[in-house]
């Protein structure tokens, strides 16, 4: 069982987020007296998942940290308008992936970088990142993944590393399952081709 102690300004309380479903969390957020508690539960449940999705996209820890925080700030600002049309975690993932893609787009614009140079820059930062400890095979795979277009990379990461179902990824990216399968198939073929050529 996963338990954490969260220190508030005047109180200490224990959270076991596995006890709470997404609906429980939303209910707590919707009540004024438990709104902060509900939001802490939400972050406790999703902060790591959100961080890793973002980190695999932007590679650098500092950027991933900023984007993950910004994601939860947006979740906080918009959670009251969350209608429950989609699942809570796919909604949070959607915010996170949009933030990550926006970051990469801004980076491209700011430095007038073509796609190939962004990919090169990410590869360089991967190699020099003190928080990257992958072995040779993992590094090779990451370099291959970085050759993919951004959205294809996102699909590949969510399917291969996060092991989300196609239906869940489709809900996050708001595309059809069929198109996602095709994208994943293309991504895998490209990576295999890269690995064989390297």
């Amino acid at each position: 069982m996963y338990c954490r102690i969260i220190k508030g300004t005047n109180f200490i309380f224990k959270i076991d987020h596995l006890q709470f479903t997404d609906q429980d969390i939303i209910d707590k957020i919707n009540q004024p007296e438990t709104v902060n508690y509900g939001f802490n539960l939400l972050m406790d449940k999703y902060q790591e998942k959100v961080y890793w999705v973002i980190r695999r996209m932007v590679i650098e820890h500092d950027a991933a940290d900023d984007i993950a925080q910004e994601t939860f700030v947006k979740v906080w600002k918009n959670i009251r308008s969350f209608k429950g049309d989609s699942k809570l975690y796919t909604w949070i993932y959607r915010i996170a992936t949009n933030e990550a893609l926006n970051y990469l787009r801004k980076k491209k614009k700011r430095f007038f970088l073509p796609i190939a140079d962004v990919e090169h820059e990410l590869t360089t930062s991967l190699e020099s990142d003190t928080y990257y400890t992958g072995d040779e095979i993992q590094l090779k795979l990451q370099k291959a993944i970085l050759t993919l277009p951004e959205k294809q990379r996102l699909v590949f990461n969510m399917k291969y590393f996060e092991e989300l179902k196609f239906s869940e990824i489709a809900e996050v990216m708001q595309v059809s399952v069929g198109s996602l399968k095709a994208q994943y198939h293309h991504a895998v073929k490209k990576i295999e081709k890269f690995l064989k050529a390297d």
Partner: protein, 167 residues
């Protein structure tokens, strides 16, 4: 379907099976422990920016400037309308006709200098009227009056009965 999907990346999984399998990305120590606190402070920052004195006064200042501009525009608009409004020449003509005694020669000269076109219009208007009247009324002849009418007229003029036989 699941088998079909797992077959897609079977080759890749075989390739990565040879790796050490340890997590490739790391985070600074206790990174996730302080994450919530950082998010909360960011939320507070984003919500309290309006409460900061500098921001509050900036917002008030911008509001005042906008209010002054709005008032200035709303006040200037009717003046402009009044300035640009055209007074009908018939009203001007009526005004000059009614107050002709109060106008001195300088006023009349000034009026003429400022609005020659108006004066021209007046002249043109009068000329046309006269011409129309002339055209519409044929010259008066003696045949248009009866003998009784002529008799009454002569009496009114001081002639006596029989005086006009010698005319």
């Amino acid at each position: 379907m699941k088998e079909e999907n797992s077959n897609i990346d079977a080759g890749l999984k075989e390739f990565t099976n040879n790796s050490s399998g340890r997590p490739e990305f790391k985070t600074p120590e206790n990174y996730f422990e302080g994450f919530q606190k950082r998010v909360h402070s960011k939320v507070n920052d984003s919500e309290s920016w309006l409460r900061a004195p500098i921001m509050r006064w900036s917002v008030i200042g911008v509001g005042c400037v906008l209010a002054v501009i709005t008032i200035a525009i709303s006040k200037s608009t009717p003046q402009t309308a009044a300035e640009s409004a055209e007074i009908p020449s018939s009203e001007l003509l009526a005004y000059f006709s009614n107050n002709i005694d109060e106008l001195d020669e300088y006023d009349l000269m000034e009026m003429y200098a400022e609005d020659t076109a108006l004066n021209l219009n007046i002249i043109q208007q009068d000329t046309t009227k006269v011409e129309k009247e002339k055209i519409s009324k044929p010259p008066v002849s003696i045949d248009d009056f009866s003998e009784e009418e002529i008799y009454e007229y002569m009496l009114d003029e001081g002639y006596e009965d029989g005086d006009w036989d010698n005319l």
